[in-house]
Amino acid sequence: MTKGSSPVQTISSQALGNGRNGTGRVTKEIARRAFRTMLEARILEEKLAALYRSGKIVGGVFLGRGQEALSVALGVHLRRGDIYAPLIRDQAGRLAFGDTILDTLRTYLGSSLGSMRGRDGNIHRGRPSEGYHAMISHLGAMVSTVCGGLVAKRFRGETGAVGATCIGDGGTSTGSFHEGMNMAAVEKLPMVVVVANNQFSYSTPNDRQFACGDLLTRAAGYGITGRRAIGNDLIDCLEVIGEAVAAARAGEGPQLVVADLLRLVGHSEQDDASYIPAALKESPLGRDCLDIAEDQLLENEWVTDTELSSWRAAVKAEVEETVGKVLREPAPDPAEEDWNAFSVVGRNLSGEDEE
């Protein structure tokens, strides 16, 4: 599945030796919640793409289509008090962590009522003071930021919280990623880092990105536990990430999860992803995680066809209704904008002209 050509393929992490330990066992309730959130993410993102095509969203639209299973599996295993720094393709994980369809649309459409108030957009949203970090674009940068949140909790004696972030195959080449991973390991932080290895970084295939063949071999180099998940298989993602989160929560130190998958859209909605070979799209990697998950839920009799239809209808209705609402909301008013990057306290002290 991985594309590198290095002869070194040893998987040297402990966890794989041990195999699954049961802490990630998937319950009906979790599976249903995960799947319902995947549906929300998928339907919401389809709407975002349409809004972009019709010129209602400016800038860029970056979708997570095909990556919802992996993304949601991290989001559903987190809870209030945890720290989560999602990346580009984490719409599903965000919703699972507590972000809303409403705030997503507000941010993309630049509503002044959104959490970013039109100051930042699309995937760069968050509520840092609630543990939901707002990514900066510079890849790799959020790994150490999550470390910092966990160090703060340790200082305050708060135990049981976990920090989590996601990164792409391309993002693993950044110096930031390396420094953050190493730091998490040195500090033995309760942290889970999920690598969504979708085989491409924008147009760049993995063999121009790294030569180790298998990114999981990096876990040993940081001295942290590595685990592999099947990136488009919801049950597998829920199990593996469930175990990783449980291990981190139990004080076993940072956990790296590597999952192979494909993104089933372009890098952004401007990109047709024609560089992804047809053979890869037709391989098991190219199977849509939503289809796989649906089968899994039906097989387990965790959901019925009727329920699925009504979920779909409900989510569509919610998305449409929310779009209508947000489109009527006020855009930020430049005349009212507070053109000052200092905090209120800093500014009051500064005596700097405010124009």
């Binding site: 630049g110 100051r119 760069h124 890849l139 080449s173 110096g175 147009s203 760049t204 121009r208 053109w339």
Partner: protein, 321 residues
């Protein structure tokens, strides 16, 4: 046939690759894909092995270019966005910029920075980084405003023995067009009087030249005759041309899309105040972006950056001083 600013960048690179075997291009997604903006479209095919996809490693990308330059190559680095060059900044300012002074070995490399704001670009895809790099001795910083300049100056950048930060403006990529590309160019480091005038001088560069020209047009309807100077290269700055202009007009407004603190506008004013104090009939003024990150929403962005209308306002105030 008309050539865009972006196509001129591509053609300059094509010519550099064709004429000089020492040239190669390195950056993310620039090979078969042709780059995020398509500035290297087809070049990988046309020059096999000389247009290389890089990993997401801005520090090492610049480091590799430095090592190759030391060995006599002439690398062009494409940053996917100027904003990401902060991740390669250490190599640029501490290794590339210092190499010649420290060791006497030239370091001829070009770092192309897709710069400046566009609607919806937001805080991390809109930055103007010319001042940051111009602060460092040893770096040339170019900021072309026209299709013709972006072509000739990129070729000039490749020919220079010093590291060049090449700030190409994304807002100009598609809008700006020319009928044909010039063979001749102004000398290196020379500013251009884009529009002659006698009532006030506007010094600008890159996308702001066009806002300044539009403002000058607007003021011409009120009977004012505004001179517009395009700096072209902000390091070195062509102080002579600026002083000569101020000598004619007596009034100076400097416009920059970058933040004010220590930016190009501050530097130009500091020079004119020190060297051309007596030429000034009124206090020299500047108009910059607002002092916040570049906002995402187009309505905010349109107020954050200087525009024809805010330049015209500033000019009206200056003319009344």
């Amino acid at each position: 046939m008309s050539i865009t600013y972006l196509e001129a960048i591509r053609l300059a690179q094509q010519r550099a690759l064709a004429e000089d075997p020492r040239v190669f291009i390195y950056g993310q997604d620039i090979g078969a894909f042709g780059g995020a903006f398509k500035a290297t479209k087809n070049l990988a095919k046309e020059f096999p092995g000389r247009v290389l996809d890089a990993p997401i490693s801005e520090d090492a990308i610049v480091g590799l270019a430095i090592g190759a330059a030391v060995e006599g190559m002439r690398p062009i680095v494409e940053m996917q966005f100027a904003d990401f060059s902060t991740c390669g900044l250490n190599q640029i300012v501490n290794q590339a910029a210092t190499l010649y002074y420290r060791t006497g070995t030239p370091c001829p490399l070009v770092v192309r920075l897709p710069s400046g704001g566009t609607p919806g670009g937001g805080p991390f895809h809109s930055q103007s980084m010319e001042s940051l790099y111009a602060h460092y001795p040893g770096l040339v910083v170019m900021t072309p405003a026209t299709v013709e300049d972006v072509y000739t100056m990129l070729l000039e950048a490749v020919a220079l023995d010093d590291p060049v930060i090449f700030c190409e403006h994304k807002f100009l990529y598609y809008h700006l067009k020319a009928e044909k590309l010039p063979e001749e160019a102004l000398p290196f480091g020379k500013a251009r009087i884009t529009r002659p005038g006698r009532d006030a001088t506007v010094v600008a560069y890159s996308a702001m030249v066009h806002e300044a020209l539009a403002a000058a047009e607007e003021l011409s309807q009120d009977g004012y005759d505004i001179e517009v100077v395009d700096l072209r290269t902000v390091k070195p700055i062509d102080t002579d041309t600026i002083l000569a202009s101020v000598a004619r007009t007596g009034r100076l407004l400097v416009v920059s899309e970058d933040w004010p603190w220590g930016g190009v506008a501050a530097e130009v004013i500091a020079r004119v105040a020190a060297e051309g104090f007596g030429l000034l009939d009124a206090p020299p003024q500047r108009l910059n972006a607002r002092e916040t990150p570049v906002p995402y929403h187009p309505a905010l962005w349109g107020t954050h950056r200087p525009t024809a209308s805010s330049v015209a306002n500033s000019l009206r105030q200056l003319l009344e001083l």
